[in-house]
């Protein structure tokens, strides 16, 4: 069998051969290159409520806040493309309960309250003993979970705040913090 025939039949093995011809150093360099990836989903414009709650959980300070690193858009993707219909209905019912609580306590939608007023309500939801399905505290817990995850997996936080390297190059089991 000549080489061309081999390559034709082998298909997947073409790259195997090519890869095996590389030195460890070159392989490492190849690893540094960013892999081809799927395009992120187009983000829908998130409701003001979610952005406001996320920003109170992880607000702007000397480090960026939840809004600055795109948390509300991530939450929207999960709510609209990941949750089941049942989960989304429960979540949206809870979001409505959050706004209802804001209106009855402070006469406005949650997003339009002052930071102090927002913090008062969030403090109650954060320490709630009961989280009935579809309640404000229930939806808050879901937003908090997604906010923490979305924040700490965002590009600016991973690269600039946590400064995690994709290829650390070594493992140390017990070094000083």
């Amino acid at each position: 069998m000549n080489r061309r025939d081999l390559l034709h039949v082998v298909g997947g093995a073409v790259t195997l051969e090519a890869l095996s011809a590389l030195t460890p150093r070159r392989l490492l360099a190849l690893g540094e290159e960013i892999h081809r990836t799927a395009a992120p989903r187009a983000l829908e414009s998130p409701p003001a409520l979610i952005a406001a709650v996320a920003e109170r959980i992880l607000p702007e300070s000397e480090t960026p806040g939840a809004i600055a690193v795109g948390v509300p858009g991530f939450v929207e993707v999960i709510v609209h493309h990941w949750m089941t219909d049942e989960e989304r209905e429960r979540f949206e019912k809870g979001c409505a309960a959050m706004d209802a609580a804001a209106t009855s306590r402070f006469k406005g939608d949650f997003a339009n309250l002052t930071s102090d007023q927002q913090n008062t309500l969030i403090g109650e939801w954060d320490t709630a003993r009961q989280r009935e399905n579809g309640s404000a505290a229930d939806a808050y817990a879901r937003i908090k979970d997604m906010t923490v995850y979305g924040y700490f997996t965002s590009k600016p936080v991973v690269e600039n705040i946590l400064q995690l390297k994709r290829m650390p190059g070594r493992y140390n089991g017990c070094i000083s913090v």
């Binding site: 997947g12 093995a13 195997l16 095996s20 150093r25 997996t153 493992y171 000083s176």
Partner: protein
């Protein structure tokens, strides 16, 4: 060499050897058969893998459409079984089969999770990489307690082949001199972290001489080896490895086979059955379906290695019927498809440690600690036969604790960034499953896969021995963590169905007697001398060690034997 038929390039019709499957053992069969001079075709049911585009280990979460949550609707629809495997996530679900195309059935009361990878490389792409040798404690187990049939080999028969395989693929680990877990050809071990070292010391002081803790032995390079690069500790091996630092057939054995110029690798080739020549009493070839054209094709060879994975290999053999073998090829014993085993797991203990709060780890170590089997080694346990090993590891909780820790606002955020939180420790056992002829796979008369091949009906359940062992795992994991000073020690037994350990084996067991076993001491079918089965199907017992290194050693050994026999013209 090639014929053009209807404009479609056809593979040659004859080779010296056919290997069914390109994963853990298929890659080894291909390498050994090619290097020993045989013109070999590897038939792989799945697609080709291009490491440059298919490997995604360095793709960060923010570049994934669902940030790592996974395309849940697609996965729940297409991979309801595969998704139960931790590695079947947003990055790696493409390495697992579509469950709709690849159906199987089970009795209602006997769930079984069959996790499969169909692509060049098979499951070796997303395997767990833990490698532990067997000892004679394992090879003699069936003879000792009467479950199953005696192994036709002992440790001395496989030891040189463990050496051979380990030297080629590169294993990192710590030599410990344990009789029940022989040392191998080790590259330098990975480090334990502060908490794991404490556990090691605590176990040594409380259970010294019986229990001990060592670093996991893994098929991951801790230094450059055979042209492959040392691990760079990015973490998620199951997404691929562009630096070829962990062993997979794609990273290691298939390139070696290709380098001989004798390999033909044919992806998209779904094997339906083995062809049997009644006159010569030999397997003459393989019938397969081209997955892209749905065309049935045949290819012939002097020797056939079946390496499709224990259950898949049994399915192909059961579907290979002839007048000589009406119940499946090489099945005169009636044992083909029986004695299915999978390590029992998902029992252990989790805990928290609040010491060493001024210490952390650097890098993502794709490995943990290992507690070698200690039950029924020096003493006898009253509740069960045989034993289990324990795997586990510690890590700082990090920002993930923010989801369930009370708090919000600037200080909360600063704390999640600055403080790493307590250490969490998970541990769980991997237990030996007894061979039981009633744990069986057979062809389902009513269900076929996408390619028209009968699906498997899997009828497997754990027995009282495995259940007693699971109980003990939770107790011993918890007591060892407590001894090391853990808090919040939480023993668990998840009552998991078999299958999810993905160590399924035993469907064409080796044995001394053709009346009670399918394969002889060389993985050669008693009744069809040019047919070899070298994946997990061949196992006469399961031991408790992660099995892949044993499959690989048996494969290399069988291939050397097959070529020698061919040269002596005795196949």
């Amino acid at each position: 060499m090639h014929q053009r038929m209807n404009g479609v390039r056809q593979p040659r019709l004859e080779y010296d050897a056919i290997v069914v499957g390109s994963g853990m053992t298929g890659g080894w069969a291909a390498k050994e058969l090619c290097e020993r001079g045989l013109d070999t075709v590897v038939l792989e049911a799945g697609r080709p893998i291009d490491p440059k585009t298919d490997y995604v280990e360095h793709v960060p979460a923010w570049q994934m459409p669902f940030r790592g949550y996974g395309d849940r609707k697609a996965i729940e629809r297409d991979q309801p079984t595969q998704r139960k495997c931790y590695a079947c996530d947003e990055w790696s679900s493409k390495f697992f089969v579509n469950d709709l195309d690849n159906p199987y059935t089970t009795p209602n009361e006997k769930p079984f999770d069959w996790i499969r990878g169909r692509q060049v490389g098979g499951k070796s792409i997303m395997w767990g990489r833990q490698v532990y040798r067997w000892s004679d404690l394992d090879f003699e187990a069936n003879a000792r307690d009467g479950h199953g049939v005696d192994w036709p080999i002992r440790y001395k028969d496989i030891a040189p082949w463990y050496d051979y395989v380990e030297k080629f693929i590169g294993i990192s680990g710590q030599a410990e001199g344990l009789p029940q877990l022989p040392d191998g050809q080790f590259l330098p071990p990975m480090e334990m972290n502060c908490i794991e070292r404490d556990l090691k010391d605590a176990v040594a002081s409380k259970w010294g001489g019986e229990r001990m803790v060592t670093i996991g032995r893994v098929a991951i390079l801790t230094q450059d080896h055979n042209g492959r690069s040392a691990c760079h500790y990015c973490g998620p091996c199951e997404r691929g490895c562009i630096t070829r630092s962990y062993f997979s057939s794609v990273n290691s054995t298939l390139p070696a086979a290709a380098a001989t110029g004798r390999l033909t690798l044919r992806p998209h080739s779904v094997v339906e059955s083995l062809l049997y020549d009644e006159k010569r009493r030999r397997v003459s070839g393989v019938r397969f379906i081209d997955a892209q054209t749905m065309e049935a094709m045949e290819v012939r060879a002097r020797v056939v290695f079946v390496c499709a994975g224990a259950l898949e290999s049994a399915r192909i053999m059961l579907n290979s019927k002839s007048s000589r073998f009406p119940n499946g090829i090489a099945n005169g014993s009636g044992q083909l498809g029986r004695n299915v085993m999978d390590h029992c797991m998902a029992a252990g203990a989790n805990a928290t440690f609040t010491k060493h709060m001024d210490k952390k780890t650097y890098g993502n170590r794709p490995n943990g600690i290992y507690v070698p089997r200690f039950r029924n080694v020096k003493s006898t346990h009253s509740d069960f036969l045989r034993g289990y090993g324990i795997q586990g590891g510690a890590s700082r909780m990090g920002w993930g604790r923010g989801s369930w820790t009370p708090g919000f606002g600037k200080d909360f955020k600063a704390q999640l960034i600055k403080d790493l939180g307590p250490w969490s420790f998970w541990s769980g056992g991997f237990g030996e499953c007894l061979p039981n002829p009633d744990n069986v796979v057979e062809l389902d008369p009513n269900v076929k896969d996408k390619w028209g091949i009968p699906a498997l009906r899997i009828n497997v359940a754990y027995g009282p021995n495995e259940k007693a062992m699971l109980k003990d795992m939770a107790i011993t994991c918890a007591e060892m963590l407590e001894a090391a000073g853990a808090s919040n020690v939480d023993p668990y037994d998840a009552n998991a169905a078999p299958g999810l350990c993905i160590h399924e084996m035993g469907t064409a067991r080796m044995g001394k007697n053709p009346k009670t076993s399918v394969l002889n001491s060389w993985n050669q079918a008693h009744e069809v001398p040019n047919l070899f089965v070298t994946d997990g199907a061949c196992m006469a017992s399961s031991a408790c060690q992660n099995p892949s290194i044993t499959y690989m050693a048996l494969t290399a050994r069988a291939a050397a034997h097959a070529v020698a026999e061919l040269k002596r013209r005795s196949l």
